[in-house]
């Protein structure tokens, strides 16, 4: 079938000859519908119409829009909440309820300058770099299943896109997994603890847990589901600024350098958060510790918002435009600057993270955010 397509493609510009011509003719002769379809393609206007309607950029928007509706209709979308945005007109509201709006055949408004390359900025995907104890690095971007390394009796394997450590090692050997911007990955530590790493993050850990505690270091953002082991408490060192002691628990840590605070949010279990020179704080499920030079506890954290990334969504509730842009920077690997004062726009609601940057920006444009996109540089206009 691929071969037929390549023949048709070629035939659109240069007449086929010899065997290729015979093969195409044979295929066309097999059915009158095929012949009619092929004739249609010869019509320049019709071909042009096809190219317009099925352009890659429009397809991506269509694909996500429909899928979002499907997820909602099947109940697979876990949140029954309808997507809502605070700044909207009635018409925009209807569009947004459908997901991403009907951008399929619209012409862009003259205000927004859309660089041709915008269509190519895809959302983040699975990928990471694993640094072994000897310093060698392995890219996990396109690996679904593979044996990565054998170090001191412990095997690191990628199984269905998750890095899993197996075996009983004796030597204390450290690995680091890091995600660049535009990537995310999962790993299972030697004790069975599962870790989800967001973009621009890293985790440093031993290939085997020996001794009387399990200790890892992280930067960026990670969500943990820690296996129970009262004899070996789990400790997380966060970017060298705070520490968390954990007993069999589910929690999320967000520690990006360019954000205002380190946020540790507990979903289940128990976590103690410590910084040098202050009393430790023990969190209850649903609470969030915000760490700056002190620790502030939020009693009823919006855990759905905190967990949105791990579940494949953006949740912009109550975030400033700058905070939103920083998330986009990490997920799409772009750089955002502001021309003039930062627009004072507050948004709420959720959106799938799987949409291209183009699709998401078009949505923001509807809400009054003006921008200019050149390659990977996004400039927000006043």
């Amino acid at each position: 079938m691929d071969y037929i397509i390549s023949l048709v493609f070629k035939s659109l510009s240069t007449p086929l000859e010899g065997q290729e011509l015979a093969q195409l003719e044979e295929w066309l002769n097999a059915s009158p519908k095929r012949r009619a379809w092929y004739q249609d393609l010869q019509d320049g206007d019709r071909l042009a119409a096809m190219l317009g309607k099925q352009a890659p950029a429009q397809l991506e928007v269509l694909e996500s829009e429909l899928y979002e509706r499907i997820l909602t209709g099947t109940g697979l979308l876990r949140k029954p909440r309808v997507i809502r945005w605070r700044i909207w007109t009635a018409a925009a509201a209807v569009m947004l309820l459908l997901g991403l709006g009907t951008y399929l055949l619209r012409k862009p408004s003259p205000k927004t300058i859309v660089a041709v390359a915008a269509a190519e900025i895809k959302p983040g995907q699975q990928g990471a770099v694993l640094t072994l104890a000897d310093g060698s690095q392995v890219s996990l971007d396109t690996v679904r299943n593979a044996v990565i390394a054998l170090q001191g009796g412990v095997t690191a394997r990628v199984v269905n896109g998750t890095l899993i450590y197996e075996g009983q090692g004796n030597a204390v050997v450290y690995n680091t997994m890091s995600t660049p911007r535009g990537r995310e990955f999962q790993l299972t530590l030697p004790d069975g603890t599962q870790v989800w790493l967001n973009s621009a993050s890293s985790i440093h850990y031993p290939t085997a847990f020996t001794g009387n505690e399990r200790k890892v270091d992280i930067s960026g953002e990670a969500y943990f589901e820690v296996t129970q082991n009262a004899d070996m408490p789990f400790r997380v060192n966060v970017a060298g600024k705070a520490e968390m002691k954990v007993l069999g628990t589910h929690f999320n840590v967000s520690a990006y350098d360019n954000e205002a605070s380190i946020n540790a949010t507990l979903l289940e279990g128990s976590v103690a958060v410590m910084i040098p020179g202050a009393r430790q704080v023990v969190l209850q499920p649903g609470e969030q510790a915000r760490v700056t030079d002190k620790i502030t506890v939020i009693r009823h954290a919006d855990t759905e918002k905190v967990m949105a990334w791990k579940n494949g969504f953006f949740n912009f509730d109550g975030l400033t435009l700058q905070q939103i842009m920083r998330q986009l920077e990490r997920w799409y690997d772009i750089d955002v600057t502001y021309e003039g004062p930062v627009p004072d726009i507050e948004l709420s609601g959720e959106m799938t993270r799987g949409v291209t940057l183009n699709g998401l920006l078009k949505n923001l444009k509807e809400l009054g955010v003006h921008y200019k996109l050149e390659g990977r540089k996004l400039t927000v206009l006043p």
């Binding site: 493609f9 352009a55 269509l62 009907t102 012409k107």
Partner: protein
Amino acid sequence: MTDNELTYHDDAQLVQLFRTGSEEAFSIIYKRLYQRLYFFALRFVPEMDAKDMVAEAFISLWQKREDFTEFPAIQHFLFILIRNRCLNLLKHELMKTEKQAEILQQLTLTDEEDLDLQHLQAELVKLIYAEVERLPQKMRAIFLLSFQEGLKPAAIAEQLQLSVQTVRNQKVTALRLLREALGNRAPLLLLLMLVTEKFFSDL
């Protein structure tokens, strides 16, 4: 053909995963089929209805997932569902214009082969856009702005900050490149000329 990275060895396994409730398998099936189904429906009904039908068809598919053991059966199910919805919609239109009657007639003559051809067309369009990526930058920009963004020549000239004269010159360059390219058998330039003949002449 690009596919997602779920590990499965063949369609049988994909369908098996799907029927036991794997959302990831469902999303792969969706990504493979939605385009041909949507553009098939679009031939007969307006955009909003086409989108409704496709979304609802996949929702039904999910609800009946346990009924399927093979991939062709899935495509068949979706196709029949959508085709019937199109038929119903067209039959119940109160004001039947001649055009609508003609469309209805065409629809009654369709079968799954139309869906397969729709898929072939989608693949062809992908190939064309892939070639577009290889064009020199200005030509690529003109092509994409014309087709993907639907801009008229004057608007393109403004956006790319080219004078209309430059855009005309691009035509001359394109023609020259074309003549050279014919020697190298670069298919797309000819195609570009074919479909943008009208566009350039509108300047």
